[in-house]
């Protein structure tokens, strides 16, 4: 595992580094980033209109904003917009593979945000980047958080929880993700046992982008553990009924084809979940001439799929016949090892949900009968 440069490693996770203005893969990619950002202006009229309408008032002046959101060209446009609104910004990606390095470089070079993101982070680097985005050099935290999947919010909440009950860092956790986050929080607690509680108190609120992150927020709120106000951006109609649906209607095929170059026509594609994202996926695949099977636990969504002419069946029945499997459920271990053992040779399994635990990745990683060959980055056989 490679660690970021300029990071001092002692025992335990790499330390927070207040001296870094940014950490990106290659600052020389900034010119390319700038060109694509200029082209994005015409594709993002809503953001451009926000700049024009609200920019002069600078409603975010004097406020520190942390972002945990895929560091792409489109996100770079959001960052620049927040900057125009007056914010002081630090940013990390919310996914170890989703950063477009030229976007990160462009933002870093022009100084719109202190950005800590690159494509192909390790999980340890990911949590380091998240902490870099949450803490300013003077030790203060954000007034506002822009979150996608809730990892920045989680970091602050877990940090405060550890400060209330330090024994939490001594437990073992199921996922490497949780394990690594807790290792960071253990270090943090040893350095400053009140940091995250203080930071939580000065957060005015978080705006959460995605279904998975929103579930986490409602869960915290129901337990009475939410520490600051939250806006559920996902459930704006103009978000979930548009980007979740129409965005995925285009990006699923893009992703599968970039990964595998296959034709969809004539293939049996199994879409697990017929929510906003599943709807976009199923209709996209049908448009390419694939034969689409849908799996669903919710009878309303299942009925919607049936009325749109999709066969709705179970994964047990679909596993032996599918050529491509797409998880779009927001749920956990929907495709299991047992399902994968029933699949055709060289069946393609992919996830379009926020977290890849929709697929039993631990079965693939840990089963001694599974042999992994990397075809190219993010594509494994």
């Amino acid at each position: 595992m490679t660690l970021a440069e300029n990071v001092v490693t002692i025992d335990g996770p790499p330390a927070y580094d207040a001296s870094l203005p940014y950490k990106v893969a290659d600052i020389a990619l900034a010119d390319f980033g700038d060109k694509e950002m200029q082209l994005a202006e015409n594709e993002m009229p809503g953001l451009m209109a926000v700049r024009e309408k609200y920019g002069p008032q600078k409603p975010l002046k004097g406020l520190r904003v942390t972002g945990s959101l895929h560091m792409t060209i489109q996100t770079a446009m959001l960052i620049d917009t927040l900057k125009i609104l007056g914010a002081d910004i630090r940013w990390a990606s919310c996914n170890i593979f989703s950063t477009q390095d030229h976007a990160a470089a462009a933002i870093a070079r022009k100084g719109s945000a202190a950005v800590f993101a690159w494509k192909g982070e390790s999980l340890e680097e990911y949590w380091w980047c998240t902490e870099q985005a949450l803490v300013w050099p003077d030790g203060s935290g954000p007034h506002l958080i822009v979150d996608d999947g809730g990892d920045a919010t989680l970091f602050v909440h877990q940090g405060a929880a550890v400060e209330k009950d330090p024994s939490l860092v001594e437990k073992t956790y199921d996922s490497a993700d949780e394990q690594l986050l807790m290792a960071r929080l253990k270090s943090s607690y040893e350095n400053d046992s009140g940091r995250w509680t203080r930071i939580a108190e000065s957060v005015k609120g978080v705006s959460e982008e995605t279904t998975t992150g929103v579930h986490r927020l409602y869960h915290l709120s129901q337990k009475g553990e939410l520490l600051f106000p939250a806006f559920n951006v996902n459930d704006s109609v103009t978000k979930s009924k548009f980007d979740n649906l129409y965005g995925c209607r285009e990006s699923l095929a893009d992703g599968i084809k970039r990964a595998t170059d296959i034709m969809m026509a004539g293939k049996i594609v199994v879409v697990c979940g017929y929510g906003d994202v599943g709807k976009g996926c199923a209709h996209s695949m049908r448009g390419y001439g694939a034969r689409v099977l849908v799996t669903e636990v919710d009878p309303i969504c299942a009925l919607q799929a049936a009325m749109e002419g999709f066969e709705v069946t179970t994964l047990e029945d679909a596993a032996p016949v599918g050529d491509v499997f797409v998880t779009a459920t927001g749920c956990y271990k929907v495709i299991t090892g047992a399902h994968m053992e029933q699949m055709k040779n060289e069946a393609i399994v992919c996830n379009i949900g926020h977290f890849d635990n929709e697929i039993a990745m631990d079965y693939l990683d840990n089963n001694p009968k599974c042999e992994k060959t990397t075809v190219k980055p993010q594509v494994d056989k």
Binding site: N42, V233, V237, T238
Partner: protein, 73 residues
């Protein structure tokens, strides 16, 4: 992602300028419609407009919000 991120900006402005209790909120429908409105020109959409008689008939303002909160599009 322009829809998503326009919503994000509006939510950030709300949090910055409003005084919210610790809870989970969604943006009001008026702002949701505003996000949609901002994307119409790029796609060459010619939006129709209610006259006052029609607005009164429907029980909505001429400039919206056009649907009740429980409407699911």
């Amino acid at each position: 992602m322009s829809n998503s991120f326009t919503n994000q900006c509006l939510a950030q402005i709300e949090l910055a300028t409003g005084n919210y209790e610790t809870d989970v909120y969604t943006l009001p429908k008026k702002l949701d419609e505003e996000v949609a409105r901002l994307h119409l020109a790029r796609l060459g959409v010619k939006l129709s407009k209610l006259n006052q008689v029609q607005a009164d008939y429907l029980g909505v303002p001429v400039d919206g919000p056009f649907k009740p909160d429980h409407y699911r599009y």
